[in-house]
Symmetry: C2
Subunit: 153 residues, 2 copies
């Protein structure tokens, strides 16, 4: 009967996709070169965790290695990222942001944040405090669970 719990679950299922769609749209329209959400997250991850390997990225995104390999393919093709050899382990590679990649991610991020801020702009400070608290509560509950490996059917 836990009604409040159910209500929150419903709310998340209704609202989360709408927020994602808004972010996605801004990512396409908001600035020159359009990034998908995974591409954006990839650039952000490399920016924040330099010298990561493909496996590190796969763990962060919760995707399989082939998926991430292809994802990076696209970013390399656009010259946002380069693959460098690891010196210690010749199987591994090191992901590096190019100058262009750095520019793109900063601009996309700024544009997305500005758009979100505009969207939240009508709220009072108290409302914002509530949202902030809620995000602080939710964030640790939804952790990336490493690479996907789906059960066989």
């Amino acid at each position: 009967m836990s009604t409040l719990l159910d209500t929150c679950a419903h709310g998340l299922m209704e609202t989360t996709p709408k927020i994602m769609q808004s972010i996605r749209m801004e990512m396409r329209l908001g600035h020159g070169s359009d990034l998908s959400i995974p591409q954006f997250r990839t650039l952000r991850f490399i920016q924040r965790s330099p010298d990561s390997s493909l496996s590190d990225l796969a763990d962060h995104l919760g995707l399989t290695l082939p998926s991430v390999s292809k994802l990076v393919d696209g970013l390399v093709k656009q010259a946002f990222v380069s693959r460098q050899e690891s010196s210690t382990d010749r199987r591994r590679l090191t992901l590096v942001l190019t100058k262009t990649g750095e520019t793109i991610i900063n601009s996309a991020r700024a544009s997305a944040l500005a758009h979100l801020a505009r969207t939240l702009g009508s709220l009072s400070n108290e409302d914002l405090k509530t949202i902030h608290q809620a995000l602080e509560l939710l964030n640790p509950l939804f952790i990336s669970h490493g690479r996907q490996k789906l059960a066989k059917v």
Copy 2:
């Protein structure tokens, strides 16, 4: 300088994709037949708004007609949905859930909700109240803006 606003925008950008990924994963693993998020939303929309047209659905999802046509193709192929002719306007079609579709959407929904409830399960009632309030605030701000029509480059 509006720091709280920025903090909320950052929080949304960090947390929203993680929640989506969790929902998406449950949608694939949680029950027999796996649905993508758009498929899930489509079935839900038809369930709640019977006799809708493809354009109605496109508006609801914020996608273009060709995208939605293809999306529905997949659901028809799986026999979750059927396309029926509209009696009043022979250009329009009417989307109808099949018996199977009804079963699938109910099961997927229950499973996703249960998973979310489990994830939120460790929170106190007060925390849940905060989240509930936040969702009530956020939900109306992120409305579907009708079909996409991207600017020409």
